[in-house]
């Protein structure tokens, strides 16, 4: 009891000291981490030697030109790449220090803990309610009232509840593109993940819908570690705390050339190529 109180006050004290200290504390124990991660499609090395910590309650953006392996890297974080025949990795990906590619790890369990939002909104051809309830229902029979609560709170978290509360029994496909994407976020949130991966979640959306999703991400970041792939520089600058810059090497393998606080990447990048890219000179 007292111990806990001390801890809380210590944490408060830290918060007061300033952002830098906080960063250091967080850096000590990243939520996820890739260590010298290389990802292969059969013989082709798509991503080479990436060491990327993903901090809890922070947004990490992955940027870089098209085809440099951003999606590949992201999909390695929840083992979605396992679905591609012939894909394999070298190196390590950890979640809370545990190697998620270790032979004793259950891939289904990993994907429950690391949710994903895709480039194109992909709600199931089911009702809005059933879309959100999909994850919880996988984990066992849940009483109706409890499920109702999960659905409502998830839709609220995805800032969609007010728009759909009267039509939960309608098909998720009847929503607009932006609403569909928020439905997909609600669906991911309902599964109670610890990390949320987003692969260009706004690239199929109009600016207003994009803004909504970006605001939503700021809310979600209070509870989750978020990794977002984006080709939109402004978006990375607006929403993320850390930015990883990827580039394609001459052998077409993608490498991470820089990782830093977003603010630094966009104001004082350490690499000339990053500077060129973020200022829109190529890519």
């Amino acid at each position: 009891m007292t111990q806990r109180a001390t801890l809380v006050s210590a944490m408060n004290a830290m918060t007061n000291i300033g952002t830098d200290t906080q960063t250091i504390v967080a850096a000590d124990a990243p939520k996820m981490k890739t260590e010298s991660l290389s990802i292969y499609y059969s013989a082709f090395r798509a991503v080479a030697d990436v060491t990327l910590p993903v901090r809890d309650r922070q947004i990490t953006a992955i940027i870089g030109p098209s085809g440099c392996g951003k999606s590949t890297l992201l999909r390695a974080l929840n083992r979605m790449n396992d679905l591609v025949a012939g894909s394999h990795i070298q190196g390590k990906v950890t979640l809370d220090g545990e190697d998620i590619y270790a032979p004793n790890m259950d891939v289904v369990d990993i994907r429950r803990r690391i949710g994903m939002v895709f480039q194109r909104p992909n709600p199931f051809p089911k009702t809005i309610y059933d879309n959100v309830a999909f994850g919880p229902r996988l984990y066992g029979r849940i009483p109706k009232t409890e499920l109702d609560e999960i659905v409502e709170s998830s839709l609220r978290r995805a800032a969609l509840w007010d728009e759909v509360k009267d039509k939960l029994k309608q098909s998720g496909l009847a929503l607009s593109g932006g609403q569909q994407q928020r439905l997909c976020i609600a669906r991911a949130v309902a599964a109670e993940p610890e990390v949320i991966l987003m692969d260009e979640p706004c690239s199929a959306l109009d600016p207003v819908a994009t803004l909504k999703i970006e605001e939503l991400m700021q809310e979600l970041k209070k509870d989750y570690a978020i990794v977002i792939v984006t080709h939109n520089m402004q978006q990375a600058a607006r929403v993320s705390d850390y930015t990883a810059m990827m580039m394609m090497r001459s052998d077409r393998a993608g490498e991470m050339i820089e990782l830093d606080q977003t603010q630094k990447i966009f104001t004082r990048p350490g690499d000339k190529r990053t500077e060129d890219y973020v200022s829109g000179r190529f890519g």
Binding site: M80, R111, F118, R120, N122, F124, F134, G135, L173, R187
Partner: protein
């Protein structure tokens, strides 16, 4: 004056012809309508083909209608007796369709009890589980199965399925000719149809649906059963209904294995002739043209026709009703 100039210009363009069009692609001539002869020929040919199939259908309906009109017009039968009578014995003037109809329904139900689960499981296996290599072997085998002549299936029922059933359930319970054996083999015959149509429907479900489910931590089975199959439900329903039509219309297997004589019974282990089986047997014998027996075949025929027509309408309804719009 200006008009004259315009006309002259047009003339020049026309005489010079295509050269001008190529040289000045931005001119109005580039957009001018040109006759395309090949296009018209193909179009007429396609129209003719479509017309032939429609005409054939109409012809069939006409013949069926005319002959059954004669049948129902004669004073020996009434429509009421036809649809409610449980005895079909043309020799004594009994024309109740129910024994034939019931036998058709029982054999078809037995067939679908085999074809739906086996066909759908095969489809799920092929589209969700099979490696490309396994699929490349299994699909041709399945198609081969669909190409076996039905008379072969008929003898398979008679010489393999019936003895098998009789050895399992006993000689006393199962007659030599019985609806169960014919129905089971008919089911096996329909499996490839249901499997291949359902597989088409399953593979048409976008990959993003599966990824969404896997991303939420669904297993392969959960993904198949609760996402992919529901998303393909319209195609699967269509497959099932085409399968049922096929079962109702199938003749050779039931003619050989189900029994040769109308019999009003709900017991699938007994012999009973189906509508198609009856038509095949009666028209094989020497029927005098224009006799009431002869006309009765057409009454059965039009009943079959109406049943398949009804199924087709239901199938269309399902396809439209459950078609999901993916963007």
């Amino acid at each position: 004056m200006t008009k004259g100039v315009e006309m002259r210009e047009q003339n020049i363009t026309m005489t010079i012809g295509r050269g001008v069009v190529v040289a000045r692609p931005d001119s109005r001539d580039a957009l001018r309508k040109r006759p395309r002869v090949g296009e018209r020929v193909i179009q007429s040919l396609l129209f003719a083909c479509g017309f032939i199939s429609i005409f054939t259908t109409l012809g069939i309906v006409f013949v069926l209608g005319e002959e059954s009109f004669l049948f129902f017009g004669s004073e020996e039968v009434s429509i009421i007796e036809f649809v409610t009578g449980t005895v079909w014995q043309p020799a004594v003037g009994e024309f109740g369709i129910l024994p034939l109809l019931l036998s058709t329904l029982i054999t078809s139900i037995v067939a679908m009890l085999v074809a739906i689960p086996v066909g759908l499981s095969a489809a799920i296996f092929l589209s969700e589980y099979a490696s490309p290599k396994a699929r490349s072997i299994l699909k041709p085998v399945l198609e081969l199965l669909a190409g076996v002549p039905t008379v072969v299936y008929g003898y398979f029922a008679l010489t393999f399925m019936t003895p098998l059933l009789r050895s399992v359930f006993g000689q006393d319970t199962i007659e030599v000719y019985n609806m169960a054996s014919a129905g089971l083999v008919m089911g096996i015959m329909i499996v490839p149809l249901v499997a291949s149509m359902s597989e088409d429907a399953l593979t048409a479900v976008p990959r993003s649906m599966r990824e969404a489910a896997f991303g939420l931590g669904a297993t392969k089975l959960e993904t198949s059963v609760s996402v992919v199959v529901p998303a393909a439900v319209s195609g699967i329903m269509a497959a099932v209904i085409v399968g049922i039509s096929r079962a109702i219309g199938e003749t050779m297997i039931v003619a050989l294995a189900a029994g040769a004589g109308p019999n009003f019974t709900f017991n699938p282990f007994k012999a009973a002739e189906t509508m198609t089986g009856h038509i095949a047997r009666i028209s094989g014998g020497d029927l005098s043209y224009n006799s009431i027996d002869y006309n009765s075949i057409f009454a059965i025929g039009i009943t079959l026709f109406l049943m398949t027509l009804g199924l087709n309408i239901i199938s269309r309804y399902f396809v439209n009703r459950f078609r999901e719009v993916y963007q």
